[in-house]
């Protein structure tokens, strides 16, 4: 009895795996409805803040734009800080990474607040400096 059903089990599981593989391949390789796959899968992040000084924690309102025709669910946002002068190290400023769930409708934008802090030990060379923030985030484009 066991021998007679084994091929059936193998066939069903094999079919399942094939379907699963095709589905997963679709996640990573299949293009969207339009021709520009990159645009569909990418969202844009921007945000600026002024008035930092040693010890100060400020909130930067980060705008997440969803250029896609599909709903977007952002789960992570972070920023890399770079300084424009050797007199002020980039570690003088830190942006606290964000984790959560931000739902952005198609062709829309939403805001999320990130905390930016200048270390109390920031040197004088940091006065008036403009730090560049490079944002990066992760999310899911929903069908």
């Amino acid at each position: 009895m066991r021998r007679t059903r084994s091929p059936l089990v193998a066939v069903l599981l094999g079919l399942s795996l094939v379907l699963g593989s095709v589905a997963l391949a679709g996640v990573f390789a299949a293009g969207p409805d339009t021709s520009d796959a990159t645009t569909q899968r990418t969202f844009w992040i921007s945000g600026k803040v002024r008035g930092l000084y040693p010890g100060r924690v400020k909130t930067v309102k980060v705008t997440v734009r969803n250029p896609s025709a599909r709903r977007l669910r952002v789960t992570r946002l972070a920023a890399t800080v770079s300084s424009t002068t050797a007199a002020c190290p980039r570690r003088a400023v830190r942006v606290k990474p964000w984790r959560g769930e931000l739902r952005v409708p198609p062709h829309s934008a939403r805001r999320v607040r990130l905390a930016v802090r200048m270390r109390p030990t920031a040197p004088d060379g940091c006065q008036g400096i403009r730090f560049r923030l490079r944002y990066h985030g992760k999310g899911i484009v929903l069908r």
Binding site: L17, C88, G128, I129
Partner: protein, 158 residues
């Protein structure tokens, strides 16, 4: 009985695999990038102004220095040092007194202090026994008020 259990297992496995496939098809991974900036303020200089303390100087005596420090910055600061500048100590009694005030600093200068000043405010502090008058003070200096030029330094205390 055993066959039924196996059938159930097969069905569950198949449905589970299909479910995974459905979830995978339902969502695409997305990544976002962008840029912005964070700008630091530029510190405004602390300013000082002299006050008129109680008359306690005479030849051979030490006295106090009273100083008002103004913090124009939008953040609190702590003044940690007060030092003399190269400018001479002058009086309000005229040239004869200014030529020979007999007033000098007393003790260890620069002064190490810890004076907290709130954002956008000022504070007045009396520094005890930090000036002295010797016998070279001109007679015209009697009743005079002396101005001791100093520079203050500190840091953000946010």
């Amino acid at each position: 009985m055993r066959g039924t259990k196996r059938k159930a297992t097969i069905v569950v496995a198949f449905v589970g695999a299909m479910l995974v496939a459905s979830v995978a098809l339902a969502a695409w991974l997305a990544s976002g990038t962008g840029s912005g900036f964070a700008k630091a303020t530029t510190a405004q200089s602390l300013t000082t102004s002299a006050n008129t303390p109680t008359a306690d100087l005479y030849p051979g005596a030490v006295g106090d220095l009273e100083i008002t420090i103004d913090n124009p910055n939008p953040y609190p600061v702590q003044v940690t040092q007060i030092a003399r500048t190269a400018d001479p100590i002058v009086s309000d009694a005229g040239a004869a007194c200014d030529a020979s005030t007999g007033v000098s600093t007393n003790g260890a200068w620069p002064l190490v202090v810890a004076i907290d000043i709130a954002a956008g405010s000022s504070t007045t502090t009396t520094l005890n026994n930090v000036v002295a008058m010797d016998n070279t003070s001109d007679d015209s200096c009697q009743g005079a008020t002396f101005t001791v030029p100093v520079t203050v330094s500190g840091a953000s205390n946010a």
